[in-house]
């Protein structure tokens, strides 16, 4: 057990899975000698050699498409797309092949690959480096979309993603990479894909978040208790798709009120599905309209203004209060 950043925690998961299983190979731009632009793969080329940590030419479709072939062969490739904003270059390889080969071959072939990509704002980056568009993948049948909320969940989910028999898109909130350290056990720890978790209990209101939004949600919950005496339950989704709605339905059936939070643009975003599931499954328990606190239907502005775009504690608290008083 030691305290580590999310970068270190993902590195640990990769390192341990590589040590345990020689089917696990990494590929991506600058992941070898450079250790990845965020250093997530730091030291792995030294530990496992360039045959297992491939510095690729600059071509995302090739990275994903080659991984499809490796995975069909029986390996467990973990691709890094340097920023999720460049993952659209391989959209067709994921939609048309990774997501479909098990189905297309009637179960005979499978594509146990992981596509890692940093997403989201918060690191004063250039254009295309701060978007949050996980909904694209979440809407794609045949893909699983996983987004950890910190070092410990990142490590435990990465292990599951690598071992999963099917393709997993693994979005890493780059704003969390070095934001804080958390205890991460040395021994194996797994969170199954498809399971969300309650990270704070409460009976007055439910907040649903994932990735980098879990922390502001928790802070907002704290503030609501301190200033309004409101007890907020906070649920961290962890897996976005396929969306397991058991916990969120249970919670909202009790609280009757919910706030859904994400960085992604609002319209047709992940929040819409979450709201709809609550509307479908907890309709008669809703005391107030469910609030969405999200990015706007804009391209995230360059960094001098990105803090106005990304949901923050203030906006979450405001939305919660509105929900509570409706």
């Amino acid at each position: 057990m030691s305290k580590m950043t999310m970068v270190q925690a993902i590195n640990l998961a990769l390192r341990q899975e590589m040590a345990n299983d020689d089917r696990v190979v990494l590929l991506g731009e600058d992941i070898g000698r450079d250790g990845g632009v965020f250093r997530v793969t730091e030291g792995l080329i030294d530990a496992f050699g360039p045959e297992r940590v491939l510095d690729t030419p600059l071509a995302e479709s090739a990275i994903a498409g080659m991984a499809v072939g490796m995975a069909i062969y029986g390996l467990r490739p973990v691709c890094e797309i340097q920023f999720s904003g460049f993952a659209y270059h391989c959209f067709h390889q994921l939609e048309s092949h990774a997501a479909r080969l098990r189905w297309r071959s009637q179960g005979r072939l499978s594509v146990p690959m992981v596509l890692r990509a940093p997403y989201g704002g918060g690191v004063r980056a250039l254009e295309h480096h701060s978007e949050s568009r996980e909904a694209y993948w979440a809407h794609t049948p045949g893909l699983k979309t996983v987004i950890p909320s910190g070092p410990r969940t990142a490590r435990a989910l990465m292990v599951s993603a690598i071992r999963d028999p099917d393709p997993v898109v693994f979005y890493e909130a780059k704003g969390l990479y070095r934001a804080y350290r958390e205890e991460v056990p040395d021994e194996e720890e797994i969170i199954p894909i498809g399971r969300s978790q309650i990270v704070r209990e409460g009976g007055d209101l439910t907040m649903i978040a994932y990735g980098a939004m879990v922390r502001p949600a928790l802070e907002a919950a704290e503030e609501l208790r301190a200033s309004d005496g409101v007890e907020t339950e906070v649920i961290d989704l962890l897996t976005i798709a396929p969306l397991d709605d058991t916990l969120i339905l249970q919670s909202v059936t009790r609280t009757g009120r919910a706030v859904v939070i994400h960085e992604a643009p609002r319209s047709f975003g992940p929040g819409a599905e979450i709201v709809t599931r609550l509307m479908e499954g907890a309709f008669y328990y809703l005391e107030a309209p469910i609030a969405r606190v999200t990015g706007y239907d804009l391209i995230i502005p360059y960094f001098s203004r990105e803090k106005w775009y990304i949901p923050n504690v203030r906006r979450i608290v405001d939305a919660a209060r509105q929900t509570l008083t409706s």
Binding site: A62, G65, V68, I72, H92, S96, H97, Q106, R108
Partner: protein, 339 residues
């Protein structure tokens, strides 16, 4: 320098062995046993006759849209005939003869083209990928398989097929580049059948050959008469040997022709002349190869006729089996399988 020509050292060649007039270059003639030659011919014949039967079925409304392969039997069979069962085969969607040779059942093809997902079942133990429809996309899978085969220190190689149109796709480029950088054991077989639906190869690219695109990757390129099964076989044998022995990938351009429509939903009269088609029909790879076999004494005409009968029976049995099977495949809930 200061101003000089750059010489590209990777080989770029053209090859023909048995021309359309029956002339044979004995120095280049591949040495195939009688049994192998007959196997090869039968596979081409089966591909041809099955294709014709699919067209009938389609015209009768008994299957849906499909892409005929007629005229391309030599290009695909000459190449794939070099593969061992332990090698990998990565088709596009117009390699029916090659797919059958590799072990795909005729029945599954009928199911597939009649809209049953069950037709996609890849039989256990086969190292083949299913049809890939997004043009060019499968090239990358071949590179990944080839890389993995080397990683596992096997002597497996990978052969992937694509059309002339596919050479315009980004995935073709990224795939050949990766294959060369990693020196993966992949044979890239382009069936240049002159057309990508209605676009002739002369509007697909400004280059006189597709083989020369190999220069962009630092790999050998070779352009062969794709209706000359001996030339295709020889070129692919060389490329396969290169790949197997660690010499890296090769790009083979098979110059052939799509005699029929793009798919049964297409009407080629809209965009190409009947003369062009007639001209290419002169170069039909089947009679050319049959004449060679007879000249060589590998088979007599009656023997070939007997083979024909066997092929027709095999096809009929498959059609019957497929239609029986499809009658039993009503369950809508099967759509929830395998996802």
């Amino acid at each position: 320098m200061p101003r000089s020509d750059i010489a590209v050292t990777d080989s770029l060649e053209s090859l023909s062995i048995l021309d359309e007039h029956g002339n044979l270059d004995r120095d280049l003639e591949p040495q195939l046993s009688k049994a192998r030659l007959l196997e090869l011919y039968r596979a081409m014949l089966l591909g041809r006759r099955f294709d014709e039967r699919l067209l009938d079925l389609q015209r009768q409304g008994r299957i849906g849209t499909f892409p005929p392969i007629k005229g391309q039997e030599a290009a695909q069979m000459g190449a794939v005939f070099n593969l061992r069962p332990s090698d990998w085969f990565v088709p596009a969607f117009r390699e029916t003869a090659a797919e059958i040779w590799r072990g795909r059942s005729l029945e599954s093809i009928i199911l597939y083209f009649n809209g049953f997902n069950e037709g996609g079942l890849v039989p256990e133990g086969r190292k083949d990928l299913p049809i890939a429809i997004p043009v060019g996309s499968q090239v990358l899978h071949a590179v990944g398989l080839g890389w993995a085969a080397r990683y596992r220190q096997t002597d497996e190689i990978v052969m992937t097929f694509f059309g002339d149109g596919a050479t315009s796709a980004g995935d073709f480029h990224e795939g050949l580049n990766f294959a060369a950088v990693y020196q993966t054991p992949v044979v890239f077989v382009c069936q240049n059948n002159q057309w990508a639906i209605s676009v002739p190869v002369s509007r697909q690219t400004h280059t006189p050959t597709l083989a020369q695109k190999a220069h962009a990757y630092g790999m050998p390129g070779i352009r062969v008469d794709g209706n000359d099964v001996l030339a295709v076989y020889a070129a692919a044998a060389e490329a396969a040997e290169r790949a197997r022995s660690g010499g890296g990938p090769t790009l083979i351009e098979c110059v052939t022709y799509r005699v029929m429509m793009h798919t049964t939903a297409d009407d080629p009269k809209r965009y190409r002349s009947e003369e062009e088609v007639a001209q290419w029909q002169q170069r039909d790879p089947l009679p050319r190869f049959a004449a060679y076999l007879q000249q060589k004494g590998t088979a007599t005409e009656p023997q070939l006729a007997e083979m024909e009968t066997g092929v027709m029976e095999e096809i009929q049995a498959a059609v019957d089996a497929a239609e029986k099977r499809m009658g039993e495949l009503g369950d809508p809930l099967a759509m929830f399988d395998h996802l």
